[in-house]
Symmetry: C2
Subunit: 353 residues, 2 copies
């Protein structure tokens, strides 16, 4: 394929061209020019334009938002702050995890968080409880953690507690000052309300916003579309985006024609939990795409028999988007990092008060 | 203008025709047909179609959502429930208002609410406090109301308390079980979260949803656009619409091109506080338009020198919308009615427990 470096045709100049379609402008130019039989030079120029635009399109690659690298930077900042607290006050932040039962997936998640804590100097506490724990026992443990001055934040290792436990009741027992997951309804209420601020914003949504700001993507006045409305990601990330002055649309399973809505988005937050549901053709050229999904799909070429993919078709979308997060290595590392950040913030409120 | 009743051309058949533009379909038909000089009959038919569609467009009137009448129906339902409680348990719901200072506007608002209570059999309590009331005095009064078993709900008569009072602190002292305004952040948090329900939803937003459902407008799967994001209307109405499975977009002062977003709405909730900012050309034909705005504009023809208008240009929008609320007489009467309803619900939880 001919390369016309001097032409400096950038993808941005073809933003009006929809993904996977012929470059309309250039083709229209060709058709128009071809009616003038006396204009071979012009036809050549037009042909070059077509080739050039085709090449630019296929060559276009969104800027990769490297969640791993950004998370590492933030962790260094946290580590520095933890050192400062330790040197100034002789105290370090403490993060506790309550593990109910022995689920393998939550164990590995806990291990990852424990390691992250140790890297930045945050003290880890583990509280192992049997699957059969009673509600009253659990509540008394919750109260112990609330009262422990060395624990500045704590969370449950699993999203779903055993069936004998009334989850809503337990979660409302968490001290607001230690709710580093940010899931207490009072924290969510303050996140929603104008002029109010929660003590902690939920980690994954906070991580999404951090990825955007550290990539130089401003949110104010932008059309942001959130796909998914879970309490953990979709809903709180919508509220955070609204607080940052984005025009927010929440798309979900009941939405008719989600693709036409996503196509208007300057910022897409994909948190539907559906493997590669968002195609390249859904993405507005130049948009920032944050993919929260982590879905296992069969892959016989892998030793494990599966691979992880996001809610976005990365291969397609990265040819259209302006910025995109990979899966894995995008939002994932940010969630744990924001948990560390919330713990640090909680500790600072207590230690520096 | 010729009327072709037999043709049964309804406005719905021209939904694709944008407001204030020529009926494209019919005009295109005319142009196409006029190239056949041998088709005078067809041209006549086409002309009739044009006239007919023009007539239908100018004649179109949205179904008026009569808030006054709907409110009256609901108040009768409430009155019946209050009678039942009184007959069965010898108790009636009680609603208290805390009036700080002597602002004229809040006094008339209070009088209106007091009258509404008396009509349905709800007992009214007034608590008059001077403008200079201290925070600690106010808090002790709040605690008294929280403890009073005859008061099932209470609210402040004004949205803004005197400057010596920390509003956030005071509002968080209201017992959740008596927060009939539904503004406690914990109530807002539960309103936002999937699988949670607040004890009370804020009155105006609840009234908007009630107007839709009692007019036969379903919300599920519809594109709803909320203009405005206040804690009192815009935000909570967005959360309610989302809970009812609408695809929700929140438009606000930082939104670029709000008209293009509103134009996609099957349901518009206008709560921006800007007189007639939403024009007829913003409205999708057939949409349901709920106008929360109440703005005073100069009108020398009125004795008072002003008249009340909504956030929507009613004259224009009613020619395009499928349903529309008037101002006044739309959302207004519903707000007070939902306050009565919340008080009844609060009382039932206590009396019938």
């Amino acid at each position: 394929m001919i390369q016309i470096r001097a032409a400096k045709v950038t993808y941005n100049r073809f933003q009006s061209i929809k993904y996977n379609k012929k470059p309309k402008f250039a083709v229209a130019g060709l058709r128009c020019l071809s009616t003038h039989s006396s204009a071979p030079t012009l036809i050549t120029v037009a042909s070059v334009l077509v080739l050039c635009s085709l090449e630019t399109m296929s060559d276009h690659k969104a800027t990769l938002i490297d969640g791993k690298a950004i998370a590492q930077t933030i962790r260094s900042e946290i580590a520095a702050e933890v050192r400062r607290l330790s040197q100034t006050y002789g105290k370090v932040p403490g993060l506790a995890v309550v593990i109910v039962g022995k689920r393998k997936d939550s164990q590995s998640y806990v291990n990852m968080k424990r390691k992250a804590c140790s890297e930045v100097g945050i003290k880890s506490f583990d509280l192992d409880l049997p699957e059969e724990v009673s509600e009253s026992e659990l509540i008394s443990k919750v109260h112990e953690l609330n009262a422990n001055p060395d624990v500045h934040g704590w969370y449950f290792s699993t999203a779903s507690l055993p069936k004998q436990i009334n989850e809503e009741k337990i979660l409302s027992e968490i001290s607001l000052e230690k709710d580093v997951d940010g899931f207490h309804p009072l924290n969510i209420g303050k996140l929603a309300m104008k002029g109010r601020d929660p003590l902690f914003a939920p980690c994954t949504p906070k991580g999404c916003l951090e990825l955007l700001s550290r990539s130089g993507v401003s949110v104010k006045g932008k059309n942001a579309v959130v796909v998914g409305r879970s309490n953990i990601v979709g809903l709180p990330v919508s509220l955070l985006l609204l607080k940052e002055d984005a025009t927010v649309t929440i798309v979900h399973s009941r939405t008719k024609e989600p693709e036409s809505i996503v196509r208007n988005a300057d910022i897409v937050i994909a948190a539907a939990g559906q493997a590669m549901m968002i195609k390249g053709s859904w993405i507005k050229p130049g948009a920032a795409v944050i993919d929260v999904g982590t879905n296992a799909v069969d892959d016989p070429s892998k030793k494990s028999g599966y691979r992880l993919v996001g809610d976005v078709d990365f291969q397609e979308a990265s040819k259209v988007a302006g910025w995109i997060t990979p899966v894995p290595g995008g939002v994932g590392p940010m969630t744990v990092t924001m948990l560390l950040k919330n713990t640090l913030d909680g500790a600072k409120r207590v230690i520096e008060q």
